[in-house]
């Protein structure tokens, strides 16, 4: 697994954990918002380099789902 992929997964972990830590009063509201935004930005920046590479599932597409 490449370093970029690891960073991407860590960002998802941040997005998952930030609200939970806020719920547990470990993070403040503004810290949680910054963590979510940071995780979001880095996720899109890093995941775009690998997530569509080498998969052949794109030929299967559903109708417009609700």
């Amino acid at each position: 697994m490449s370093i970029v992929k690891i960073i991407s997964y860590l960002c998802l972990l941040v997005v998952l954990l930030a609200p939970i830590l806020f719920f547990a009063d470990v993070l403040t509201d503004s810290q949680m918002r910054i963590a979510l935004l940071g995780g979001t930005v880095v996720w899109f920046a890093t995941a775009s380099t690998w997530i569509n590479k080498g998969d052949n599932d794109s030929e299967i597409e559903t109708e417009s789902a609700i």
């Binding site: 998802l12 997005v15 998952l16 930030a18 609200p19 939970i20 806020f22 719920f23 949680m32 918002r33 979510l36 935004l37 995780g39 979001t40 996720w43 899109f44 995941a47 775009s48 997530i51 569509n52 599932d57 794109s58 030929e59 299967i60 597409e61 559903t62 109708e63 417009s64 789902a65 609700i66």
Partner: protein
């Protein structure tokens, strides 16, 4: 488009008029991520809160949604995936064999128009996020027409961007949607967790008491009971499962058990995401503004943009825009393809722009988003009965003594039996709903069965020897 080309340049790009060969079959993992992502869309931000406006109780919501989604999964597994792995054809080609090309075109027109309205609702959802920096007034739950110039400008701008991108082909957007999917699900979850804190939930009992025994529906809404929730959630994607749209997907499956992967879409998108969005709205309606509106006999607005921004900040706003955009885009593209079947001389880019324009006009009217529960029920009700034609033709044609795939064998372009079965079923059951006041989703299954049964009866009467 040459005359030999398929009537429907469908959503798939290969094997449109032949069974998918065994070398192209895929395992269940190929379907799992796809379904989980496809059903976490912009509309989920509307649907969750709308349940709350319908006064659902905790049991209705939690158990009703669980059961309704389970029934949907069973339909996908035992009807859609079962037939798809038997015939391995697209919905459109399978329909063409039974109905003939011209009737498939009529079906496609209905599909295209409904897609445009659905995309319009998604544009509305995105507009509630994009409008925040412009201090835009959010549409009220009872609004049907645009509420001001800012609303119109924001919706037209979003619609124009989405339409232009869709007209250029949606490969890039599809790839972007793949990237956004796992993150989007986590943002839904984040909204739910933050809302729980705002609602001071410390135990399951506290969580249960948010909805409690239910309440009176908000002004302009009808009361949803347990069975309303079950039936609505079962049939909100009726076009895809009992309506057989997803034949086009599962024809690639190695075996029918891949149908179980739809559970990922249902329980992530239609359970977790709806409940999280519902919690966001539950938090909002405890605010002073919302309470004042309720006290004045008005329904507080359902505006996903402000709700998510209030809960999780800018990441929430991005999620609302991305969720609306990534789902509106392919919807407009597919609506364009549907229209192209009717006007094949127009280029794909042009028909997509026309579909985008229709969707944008629909997006200007908040009624499609604010009455999304009703619209989605209509969407399933209209398209699902066509799936009954395929199911009854597949399983009961021999028993009923009719010719399977009659249009293909008889060389006809228009199978009258199918049209009569579809129209009579819709007319009868829609009339029962409209004039008898029966909730439309209660009638989707009767209309579906009736359509299939009438198809057998009319085919028996009208089919000629081939």
């Amino acid at each position: 488009m040459p005359p030999e080309a398929p009537v429907i340049p469908a959503e798939v790009h290969e094997y449109e008029r032949e069974p998918v060969p065994a070398s192209q079959w895929k395992g269940w993992k190929s379907f799992l991520g796809m379904y989980a992502g496809e059903h976490a869309a912009g509309t989920e931000f509307m649907i969750g809160p709308l349940f709350l406006t319908a006064g659902v109780s905790a049991f209705d919501l939690l158990v009703g949604l669980f059961l309704g989604n389970l029934l949907a999964v069973l339909c996908w597994r035992y009807l859609t995936a079962a037939i798809a792995t038997d015939v391995r054809l697209t919905l459109y080609y399978q329909l063409e064999k039974i109905c003939g090309r011209r009737l498939v075109t009529a079906y496609n027109l209905a599909n295209g128009i409904l897609f445009c309205f659905l995309a319009g609702a998604m544009i509305t959802v995105s507009a509630t996020a994009v409008g925040i920096p412009f201090d835009m007034e959010m549409p009220k739950l009872t609004d049907t027409t645009p509420n001001g110039a800012t609303w119109i400008i924001v919706v037209v701008a979003i619609g124009a961007v989405i339409s232009v991108i869709a007209a250029r082909g949606y490969d890039t957007v599809s790839k972007f949607a793949n990237i956004a999917s796992p993150w989007m699900v986590l943002i839904f979850l984040a909204c739910g967790v933050v809302a729980l804190k705002g609602l001071r939930v410390a135990s399951f009992a506290d969580f249960w008491n948010i909805f409690g025994e239910g309440r009176e529906p908000f002004p302009g809404q009808i009361k949803y009971t347990f069975w309303h929730v079950v039936m609505w959630s079962w049939f909100c994607n009726a076009a895809m499962h009992i309506g057989m749209s997803d034949l086009s997907v599962f024809r690639y499956a190695k075996n029918a058990s891949s149908g179980w992967t739809t559970a990922a879409g249902m329980y992530v998108g239609h359970y977790l995401a709806w409940i999280c969005a519902c919690l966001l709205y539950a938090l909002y309606i405890r605010s002073g503004d919302a309470q004042a509106m309720l006290a004045a006999g008005q329904a507080p607005p359902v505006a996903p943009g402000p709700m998510t921004y209030e809960a999780v900040g800018v990441a929430g706003l991005i999620c609302v825009v991305v969720a609306g955009w990534t789902t509106a885009n392919p919807t407009i593209y597919r609506a364009g393809l549907a229209f192209q079947a009717i006007a094949p001389k127009l280029s794909t880019a042009r028909v997509t722009m026309i579909a985008g324009a229709v969707a944008t006009v629909a997006g200007l009217f908040p009624a499609f988003a604010m009455q999304l529960l009703d619209f989605v029920a209509v969407y399933g009700f209209i398209l699902a009965p066509i799936g009954a034609i395929i199911v009854f033709d597949h399983y009961f044609a021999n028993g009923a003594g009719i010719v399977q795939n009659y249009a293909e064998k008889a060389g006809i372009n228009f199978n009258v039996s199918v049209l009569l079965a579809w129209l009579i079923s819709m007319a009868v059951f829609y009339s029962i709903s409209a004039f008898g006041g029966v909730f439309l989703s209660f009638l989707t299954l009767p209309a579906w069965i009736s359509c299939g049964a009438l198809y057998l009866v009319f085919s028996r009467m009208l089919q000629k020897r081939v």
